[in-house]
């Protein structure tokens, strides 16, 4: 499984601060951070630890199997964000 971030994300970076495997992007300072409308979780790297869910002040993060219907698109959207540019590429930059 993986966790996913829904469109109600406010780009508060609390989740990035607590993620133990650095799988939430873009990070402040990254080239696409300012234009990003939300943050995304890399499903390949997420270790399902739940830390980001606890940290999110607007409850915008869900386990993939518990994502409400209105945010069902989020699983694919999060994956797609990293398909365009992987965490490895993002971290190397």
């Amino acid at each position: 499984m993986t966790y996913v971030i829904a469109g109600s994300c406010i780009k508060d970076d609390s989740c990035i601060e607590v993620c133990p495997v650095d799988c939430i992007h873009p990070k402040p300072g990254a080239a696409d951070f300012e234009t990003a409308e939300q943050l995304y979780i890399d499903p390949e790297l997420c270790i399902d630890c739940d830390a980001c869910v606890e940290a999110c002040p607007v409850d915008a993060i869900f386990a993939d199997f518990e994502t409400p219907e209105k945010f069902a698109y989020a699983l694919e959207l999060n994956a797609e964000f990293f398909a365009e540019r992987s965490t490895a590429e993002r971290t190397a930059a």
Binding site: A6, G7, S8, C9, I10, K11, D12, D13, P28, D32, E34, T35, A36, E37, Q38, P57, V58, D59, A60, K70, Y73, L77, F81, E84
Partner: protein, 460 residues
């Protein structure tokens, strides 16, 4: 031992709240007072964020935990510049952080803009969110069609609010006076005009997606309207943001959908169209629009240019203009009349000679202009707080004449007896939540100053 530094934050919206939090993290020893001209805190989180986005409004709990619950004082119903001056604040605080946001709207500059029935979308937003200064506004929703001008998230919010069903509206904390009017609305169609093309739409893809999945609402986009001109197509492929690509994808999906025959209402998205004139005898009856094309400016950016004169008229009974917020000057503080911000360097407010004004800072929209989303203010606050912490560490800020916390409290209570404290706000909050729970709604807002002050137990 020296007295702790005392900081006034003017404005308790997201920028002010994040600034208080970041400052307490950076300097646990400072004392912070939050000044707010309304009886209630959290600014646009309460008065801007759409009532059907309750999950975002939940941020108020975090704001409370990070500020008021950590000892920040709340001076609500106190307007800096009216009840208390900038100079008064400088006599009582080591530093003042302005977080006043952008309180007015940009105008279109076209004839008929001020006809009855044509309003800034920001006023509509403040009205349906129960902002006490806007409660007396009247919106006539008896016409069949409304036109929303603009392609950002405020445009998307007002479009949604105009199309939600009575039952959906009832599940929100929309103000009661607005709930009644919206539930009786005769509007069947909302036309949304973007002056640029689909690739330049400022909606987030989340907001656009939401418009496309409203229950009983047909979202219409013409296929030819989502065909990209060569410049936009190239920009999207080479430099387009993830959001812009998603938006174009979504719009193509919408354009390919079959019509919903039983829809209650319709939303029609139009691109490359600008308003030319709003017409009507005593009130709005129609809007004339023209077509634009996308051209490249000298700096490489893509902008719209008129193709011809007005060539289309849309009959409508309501026009909401959503082309951006704008800040207003504050008495006693420098203001950049061209950028509509406080002139500043990373949050240090600058005097006319370009030198930093000791002890005066800015954060949020009054610092950077009305851009970004809620969380943007967190990084913005970090930057401002870093300058303030540096100035404090250097000893660059003189001790004010009245360094203790009591003097300002006494001054405010004398000048503004109906001041609302943190306890007063908590009483308002509890009252609204109780009314909400009785009505099976998230919250029932008190939407006039009198009701708010009464609930706060503030002496009027």
């Amino acid at each position: 031992m020296t007295a702790p530094a005392r900081v006034a934050i003017v404005g308790s919206g997201p920028a002010g709240a994040f600034a208080a939090d970041r400052l307490l993290r950076a300097r646990g020893d400072v004392e912070i007072d939050l000044f707010e001209r309304l009886p209630t805190p959290w600014g646009l989180l309460r008065a801007g964020v759409a009532p059907d986005h309750q999950e975002i409004k939940r941020l108020d709990e975090t704001f409370d935990e990070q500020t008021l619950a950590r000892g920040c004082r709340f001076f609500g119903n106190v307007e800096v510049g009216v009840d208390v001056s900038h100079e008064d604040l400088m006599r009582h605080y080591t530093a003042v952080i302005y977080a006043t946001g952008a309180q007015t709207d940009k105008s279109l500059g076209i004839p008929g803009e001020d006809l009855s029935g044509s309003r800034p979308a920001t006023e509509f937003v403040a009205w349906y969110n129960g902002h006490p200064d806007y409660r007396e506004l009247e919106f006539d929703l008896s016409g069949r069609r409304a036109v929303v001008i603009g392609n950002g998230n405020v445009a998307a919010d007002v479009t949604r609010m105009l199309t939600l069903s009575p039952a959906e509206l009832e599940r929100t904390d929309v103000a009661d006076h607005a709930l009644e009017v919206l539930q009786e609305s005769g509007i069947e169609e909302v036309v949304v005009l973007g002056r640029r093309g689909p690739a330049q739409a400022a909606f987030t893809s989340a907001e656009l997606r939401e418009l496309g999945r409203l229950d009983g609402v047909d979202l219409r986009v013409e296929a030819e309207d989502v065909e990209l001109d060569p410049l936009s197509a190239r920009w999207l492929a080479e430099r387009g943001t993830f959001t812009a690509r998603k938006n174009v994808e979504l719009l193509r999906e919408f354009a390919a959908r079959p019509r919903l025959p039983d829809a209650r209402r319709a939303i029609v998205l139009r691109f490359l169209r600008s308003p030319v004139e709003i017409r009507g005898e005593d009130r709005v009856e129609a809007i004339d629009i023209r077509r634009n094309e996308i051209v490249q400016s000298d700096d490489g950016s893509l902008r719209p240019r008129a193709v011809d004169e007005a060539d289309e008229t849309i009959e409508c009974g309501l026009v909401l203009r959503s082309v951006g917020y704008r800040a207003v000057p504050l008495p006693g503080v420098p203001f950049d009349e061209r950028s509509f911000i406080l002139p500043n360097e990373r949050g240090r407010v600058l005097a006319a000679d370009g030198e930093a004004l000791p002890g005066v800072y800015a954060v949020g929209w009054i610092k950077r202009g009305p851009t970004g989303i809620l969380g943007t203010n967190k990084r913005d606050a970090e930057e401002t707080v870093a300058q303030l912490a540096e100035d404090l560490a250097k000893g660059a800020l003189p001790t004010p004449g009245h360094p203790g916390p009591e003097a300002i409290d006494a001054l405010l209570r004398e000048r503004k007896p109906e001041l609302v404290s943190a306890e007063g706000w908590r009483a308002i909050d509890a009252d609204e939540l109780r009314r909400g729970s009785e009505a099976e709604r998230p919250r029932v807002k008190l939407a006039s100053r009198e009701e708010l002050l009464a609930a706060a137990g503030a002496r009027a």
